[in-house]
Amino acid sequence: MMTRRRLLAGTATLTAMAGVAILARPAWATVEATDAAIGAFTGGKTPEPGKITLTAPEIAENGNSVPVTVEVDSPMTDGDYVASVTILADGNPNPEVATFHFTPLSGTAAATTRIRLAKTQNVVAIAKMSDGSTFSDRKEVKVTIGGCGG
């Protein structure tokens, strides 16, 4: 028998499920592709938090040019340095943005560039050290005008 209470509860459940589905699957659906790209970069390892700092604006008015800076805490000596840092964006048509390679001659493992963001999304930076350990940082950037217009 369909009581009012049951009907309401059912509707609430459905709404909640729909909400979850929308959250888990953004229009571009490259969160999975981002995870795959992280795996490809780290060799299957899950990067740890810390050591790397990703600086990006909280709100980017124009997604065509968003300044991002990555900095990794490392002595940058011959035996202990940051080998590479990759930047990924999980809401773009393709998650890959750029990959930096450093050497001890870089002095510090820091770099700034400008990237395109199609919409509001997470930007992820992953650092790979010379000993193979990996670290990551993540920032959400709200984009007012997307950067993939055609």
Partner: protein, 108 residues
């Protein structure tokens, strides 16, 4: 597209072992391959896909670029200067063109 023109900023002088900041910019459309032209066809991808910086032949910094790098790719990074020498910058285009620039630095 006009021929890409690199612009690089390197300090003229440094003390030995000093870490300097280098800024580079090159004029380039970085056509992503996602946009459609007026005729409705996709404009083919043409981007700078690689940038390298060398000091006296030793690698300092390298970057692989994907279409998500903004037009007129800009990089700011650091370099340790052990001695006087020349920084060489190279940009590689999807069409095979290579653009280069060189800057000298003197160590006091």
């Amino acid at each position: 597209m006009a021929t890409p023109k690199p612009r690089v900023k390197v300090p003229k002088k440094a003390s030995a072992g000093e870490i300097i900041t280098i800024k580079t910019l090159i004029s380039h459309d970085m056509e992503s391959g996602q946009r459609k032209g007026k005729d409705g066809n996709v404009i083919p991808r043409q981007i700078i896909n690689k940038f390298t910086c060398e000091f006296n032949g030793m690698k300092v910094f390298e970057c692989e670029l994907d279409p998500a790098v903004a037009a007129n790719p800009y990089f700011e990074f650091n370099a340790k200067v052990p001695e006087s020498g020349t920084f060489k910058f190279t940009w590689v285009d999807d069409d095979g063109s290579i653009y280069t620039d060189e800057q000298k630095i003197a160590v006091n």
